[in-house]
Structure formats: structure tokens, C-alpha cells
């Protein structure tokens, strides 16, 4: 299946802000040291050029099709449909299998596209990136290996231990791993560390893993990532004859969500973003920004919804390293604010149980991140009770790196 040309349907303004016209609230911007402004403008110019460069886009498409394997299937899951109540009661549940991409997650599409742009247009020799679950670093490191670029990965010390398989794979691809001991030792300080490193290496290009960071990153990452959604929309039409009634995708920073949601923003699809409720939102130990009381704040180059203690960025707590982020990207927060995206949450325990369910009943080992969305989708679909609906769940990654923790969980609960 061919990749459709990109259409900008929700542009930020020239300064990188999305504005809620009713309230005047702004999301995004460039909240960063002046030293990085020229780098950011260079990234922005490269991105604009890339979108118009037919030779570049043709080369990128070929690599996405043949190296990343972007034509992953959409699977009708009779098993999940039955668990939700059966087709006659709730309609059909489909899974978009981006776990089947090269490097086993949705991340390689935006990571590879950014690296390919860095190589051919930005002309960088080195890539700097941050990572949480190491899905992003793994795919950036693979791209750097193929494209013959140096790769520097910043990872929080807690995540480095939690998802050591992906970290080790990144290292095997040739990445230099910087383990970050600051603050919460997770994704947020890893991103701050990567930005600091970029400030000292202006010739390198920074590749953000989420739809976060200073402008133009939120727009650029969602544009590359949404290649997934463009294909999925086409596939879904072929299978069902229409657009999904509902879309469910997990949301840490929001790249996963936006990869699927963006092409459907002007359609009738109801979009649900799922956050990690950790041990329960009421305990305060969670990874939920929108449902966990996030307020407007400014961090890591952007203005958006952020979970804070006083004015300090709060620690998020979740089993899923990929969701361990105390903010959501600015476009995501804006879309929530205007009511286009609704939020739901799943606890760590529910996600772990869903992991075992998928393994035992679907023959799939999903990334723990994907288990939050499957669980929340089942709850929502059961409530909707509409047999005419076709539901699409983004199964956004493979759970190989969660195996050690999950087998322990299974044995402890047998």
C-alpha cells in the first residue's frame, strides 16, 4: 500500500502555538535557551524542505516500506470482541499491529523519518535522542546504523534497568548510552539531558521521541508518525468500508496517539487517549497528566498540561516506562481542551492482567504500554453497547522487553 501525501489539517501558528479560540489558551512555543534557537530554525527549515522534496519523500517511502515494514496488518480480533460482549452487542474490535514494525513499535516511523531528514537535508553527522522505554532509542539507533550516523542516547537510570533489553539492542546498533541520574531518573530528565547535550553539540540533530519539545518538534514528530494513521485509515476503509467509530491509543507524551489520531481529526471517529493511572489516580502515584490534574506549565521547550508539585515538575509513576512522562505534547493538550480527544485511564495492575490475557488468549505479547489501551478500550466498548460500531485499537508495540517483569508477575499471581 502506498503512503498518501501529507495534508496539514491542524496547523500551529508561525510561532508554533495551537490556540483555543474560545479561551485564548495557547499550547506549544519555543521555551528554550537562545543558544538552541538557531538549531531549531535549522530543523524547521529542513522539515519544510523535506515535505516538498519529492526525491527525499520517495527515498523515505521506500525505506519505510522495506526497512521499517510499515504495511503492518489490521487484525480483526474476535477474541477481544467476544470479551467485550460479542459482535452482536458491541460491534467489531480491530487491532492495528504496529508491534510488527522493524524494532517492534510505532516509534521507528517518526524516528527513522527524522534521522533520514537529518542525514539528507539537515546534513547532521550525529543524532542525539532521549528515551523512556528505549523503543525510541532502539529505532533511532537502528536508523543511525543504517544511515552511518553517530547516535547518542540519553536514558534515565530507572528506565535503563527496567527495559534493559531495548537499551542493549540500542547499544548493539552502535549507540552511545548516557545514563541520566538526575531528578526522577526517567524520561523527563532524560529529555532535559538530551537538550543540554544538544546545546553543547550544535552540529548534531536532536530527534525527539514524542510530540513534545520546542517548536517545530511537536508538529514534525506527529507529521512523520501520522504516516501510520494515513495507512491505517486507508486499510480500515478497505476492510470495513468506512472510518473507525472509535479509536483507542495510549498517551504518554502523545506520539503514539497522534500517529493514529491525526488523520482522523476531521472524521466522525471518536478518539480516546488512554493514560496510566499507575496505582490509582487517587493515590497520587500515577502517570496521568490530563486525568491526574495536570495544569498549564512550561517545560522542555513547550507550554502544555503538566503535572507539578508547586512549580516543580512532578514525578510520574507507572509500570510503563513509555508512559512515564509528567506532561502531554501541546497539540494533544489543545485537542483535549477543545473536546476533540477524550481521556480514559488504566491502572498498572489492570494493564498487567491485560498483558497476560493477550498472551494467553490472543497469542500476542504486547508492549505493556499497549495493555493500558486494550484494557480501557474493552471497558469503554462494553459501555457503548453499539453493534453497528467498528472499533480500532492501536497495538503500539511488542512486549519483549517486558517479559522478565511479566513472567515474575504471572508466577507471583498463579
Amino acid at each position: 500500500m502506498k503512503i498518501e501525501p501529507f495534508k496539514e489539517i491542524n496547523p500551529p501558528d508561525k510561532n508554533g502555538y495551537w490556540t483555543n479560540k474560545k479561551t485564548g489558551e495557547t499550547y506549544g512555543g519555543t521555551w528554550i535557551s537562545p543558544l538552541l534557537i538557531p538549531n531549531l530554525r535549522k530543523v524547521e527549515k529542513s522539515f519544510e524542505k523535506a515535505l516538498k522534496d519529492k526525491k527525499f519523500l520517495k527515498g523515505l517511502e521506500e525505506k519505510l516500506l522495506t526497512f521499517i515494514g510499515i504495511n503492518t496488518p489490521i487484525l480483526y480480533s474476535k477474541e477481544l470482541t467476544d470479551i467485550a460482549g460479542g459482535e452482536k452487542k458491541v460491534g467489531r474490535i480491530y487491532l492495528k499491529r504496529t508491534d510488527l514494525h522493524h524494532d517492534s513499535s510505532h516509534k521507528p516511523v517518526s524516528s527513522f523519518s527524522s534521522c533520514y531528514m537529518a542525514k539528507h537535508i539537515f546534513k547532521a553527522k550525529k543524532i542525539i535522542c532521549e528515551t523512556g522505554a528505549s523503543m525510541h532509542s532502539r529505532s533511532v539507533a537502528a536508523a543511525c546504523s543504517l544511515l552511518k550516523m553517530d547516535c547518542e542516547v540519553h536514558i534515565g537510570a530507572v528506565d535503563a534497568e527496567k527495559v534493559s533489553l531495548n537499551k542493549d539492542i540500542s547499544e548493539l546498533y552502535g549507540a552511545k548510552i548516557v545514563v541520566v541520574q538526575d531528578s526522577t531518573k526517567t524520561l523527563l530528565p532524560a529529555m532535559a539531558s538530551a537538550l543540554r547535550s544538544w546545546q553543547s553539540n550544535p552540529d548534531a540533530m536532536y530527534v525527539v521521541g514524542s510530540v513534545a519539545g520546542p517548536s517545530p518538534y511537536p508538529r514534525m514528530v506527529r507529521t512523520w508518525a501520522s504516516i501510520i494513521g494515513r495507512l491505517a485509515k486507508k486499510q480500515f476503509k478497505q476492510i470495513t468500508g468506512g472510518v473507525p467509530s472509535t479509536l483507542f491509543a495510549v498517551c504518554g507524551g502523545g506520539s503514539n496517539l497522534m500517529s493514529m489520531a491525526y488523520p482522523l481529526l476531521r472524521d466522525t471517529t471518536q478518539i480516546f487517549a488512554i493514560e496510566s493511572a499507575g496505582e490509582g489516580i487517587e493515590t497520587g502515584r500515577h502517570g496521568a497528566t490530563i486525568l491526574g490534574g495536570g495544569k498549564m506549565g512550561i517545560l522542555l521547550g513547550f507550554k502544555s498540561k503538566v503535572v507539578m508539585h508547586s512549580a516543580q515538575i512532578a514525578e510520574s509513576l507507572t509500570e510503563a516506562s513509555g508512559l512515564d512522562f509528567a506532561a502531554v505534547g501541546p497539540e494533544v493538550a489543545y485537542l483535549h481542551d477543545i473536546g476533540r480527544i477524550k481521556f480514559r485511564s488504566t491502572t498498572d495492575l489492570e494493564a498487567k492482567k491485560t498483558f497476560l490475557l493477550c498472551a494467553e488468549q490472543l497469542g500476542i505479547i504486547p508492549a505493556i504500554e499497549a495493555c493500558y489501551v486494550i484494557n480501557a478500550a474493552l471497558k469503554e466498548i462494553k459501555k457503548r453497547k453499539n453493534p453497528k460500531e467498528n472499533h480500532l485499537i492501536h497495538l503500539c508495540g511488542s512486549g519483549e522487553s517486558n517479559v522478565a517483569r511479566m513472567i515474575k508477575f504471572k508466577r507471583e499471581n498463579e
Binding site: T30, W31, S183, A192, S200, G301, K303, A311, Q312
Partner: protein, 274 residues
């Protein structure tokens, strides 16, 4: 220009020397020790810059990050930093300018109008926000609120910034502009004089505003080199390192302050213009 800044630059010019501006994170390692350190600093500095700590800073070296975390652990927040500055300014004999420096989030959460009001109430003379977005309405609001009460809004310019950026930035910059001597993190490299000359040339072409230089200034010799081509040398990491090492070695607050004072006394000897 803020009156206290005007005075120190005029005095330094008369004495044919540059100014020394010292930075520490406020409430590092705790409120009382920080107060002692700031009082001691006021004896040797022409202006004092007090950091408002933020746990997700994007431009600080490990030394300053550690200081931020020590301060946050000791209970620092924007309100307490203002209280600290107010107490110190009430106790010191001279009227040297005090700056509050930090990231946008604490200011935004505190509220911009309240921040400006607290600047006035706490006798703060200037404000630096490292990550403020030049194009944001919030940045314009801060500049306007501070201008109303004669508090300087000091902007940052680095070697990677071109003339059009500098021109735009200078429009919202008052009392002096802060020039990074290199592209990198606070205190991570040696001071780069060629970069400073390049930035200074572009600034002088567009404005007569005094220039303060920071990043990589650690010794008397660094200070001496920098003040030959600018109006002020800004020293941060060197001081914060003394505090960090003192905390590790469990040195008393009073001794920490004395050590900082001795270091600044030595740096001050490099201020003469040749």
C-alpha cells in the same frame, strides 16, 4: 535603566574597571546558609544573581543541577526566594542590585503579575528567564510589567545567535544584556573570548546597553580578559562548586560563606581595565 544598575556601571566606568556579578542558587544548601553566603557575596560583587531553582532545567551543568536539587530539597520555591532576597537586601549596607534568575515555569505558576509585584516588594532590581519564548505574549507581559516598576529584564545572547535575533531581543532587554561566551552549559567549558567579541560587536552595532559575560569564567585571569571587552564578568559555577564541595565535606554555613567571599575577593582583583 534600573537605577541601581546604572549606579554600578557608572561607578565602574569612573574607576576604570569592569563589574563582578556573582551567581548562586537561592536556598542552596538551605535558607540560613544561603542568606550568609549572599550577604558575604554582596561585599565583593557589584551585583548578585540569585537562582530560582527548577528541577527540569535545560541549560544547567551538573554542578548547577545539583545546587537546584539541594535548594528544592530544602523547601525552595519562588515565594521563599523573594523572601530571602528581601531579607538579605534589608541587612546589607550597600544598595547593590540583586537579580532573580531562573526558568519560566516557576514564574508562570507564580503568575507574572504577582512575580513583578514581588520583585518590587523584595527590592529585586532585575530578572533573567533563561528559557523565555521571545515570541510569546507572556514574554511581552513580563517585560512590560517589569518596565512599569523599573526592574530590569535581562536577555541572553549567545554565539549562535544572528543579528536579526539580537536586534529583536535587544528591544525587550534592559540594564544590561547577558552574553554566553560559548554554546554549551553553565561552567562546562573555558571562556571563549572570540565568541564574546563577535557577539559584542553585533550588540554594540545595535545598542549602547552594557554587556555582561557569563559561562566559563572561573579565575582572576578569566575575569581580567573578559572585562577588557565587556562591562561585567558573571561568575556562577565556580561559586556553586565551593558550596557543593562544602556540603559534601560538611563545612559550617559560616565557613562556606567565608570561602565564597575569599574566592570572590580574588576574582575582584582582575577587574581593572588595562
Amino acid at each position: 535603566m534600573n537605577k541601581n544598575f546604572e549606579k554600578i556601571f557608572a561607578k565602574a566606568k569612573q574607576e576604570k574597571r569592569g563589574c563582578l556579578i556573582g551567581f548562586v542558587t537561592g536556598m542552596d544548601p538551605d535558607y540560613e546558609t544561603s542568606k550568609k553566603i549572599l550577604i558575604e557575596m554582596s561585599k565583593y560583587c557589584d551585583a548578585v544573581e540569585v537562582g530560582n531553582p527548577f528541577n527540569t532545567s535545560t541549560s544547567d551543568s551538573a554542578t548547577i543541577m545539583d545546587a537546584n536539587m539541594r535548594a528544592i530539597k530544602s523547601g525552595a520555591d519562588t515565594g521563599k526566594i523573594f523572601k530571602l532576597i528581601k531579607e538579605v537586601k534589608s541587612e546589607i549596607q550597600n544598595n547593590i542590585p540583586f537579580l532573580i534568575m531562573g526558568y519560566m515555569n516557576p514564574v508562570y505558576i507564580y503568575s507574572i503579575k504577582k512575580f513583578a509585584k514581588s520583585c518590587k516588594e523584595s527590592m529585586v532590581d532585575g530578572c533573567i528567564i533563561v528559557d523565555s519564548d521571545n515570541n510569546a505574549p507572556e514574554d511581552k507581559e513580563i517585560f512590560e510589567e517589569l518596565s512599569k516598576i523599573d526592574v530590569a529584564y535581562i536577555k541572553l545572547i549567545g554565539p549562535t545567535n544572528d543579528e536579526s535575533y539580537i536586534k529583536k531581543t535587544l528591544k525587550k532587554c534592559s540594564s544590561f544584556c547577558y552574553v554566553f561566551s560559548y554554546a554549551g552549559l553553565t561552567g562546562a567549558k573555558q571562556v571563549n573570548l572570540e565568541n564574546v567579541k563577535k557577539s559584542a560587536k553585533l550588540i554594540r552595532k545595535n545598542s549602547k546597553i552594557p554587556i555582561g559575560v557569563g559561562f566559563g569564567i572561573r579565575s582572576r585571569s578569566d575575569v581580567s580578559k573578559v572585562v577588557q571587552i565587556s562591562d561585567a564578568a558573571i561568575v556562577g559555577s565556580g561559586i556553586v562548586e565551593i558550596i557543593g564541595n562544602g556540603v559534601k565535606n560538611k563545612i559550617s554555613g559560616l565557613d562556606l560563606a567565608i570561602n565564597v567571599g575569599q574566592y570572590l575577593k580574588e576574582l575582584r582583583e582582575g577587574l581593572s581595565k588595562k
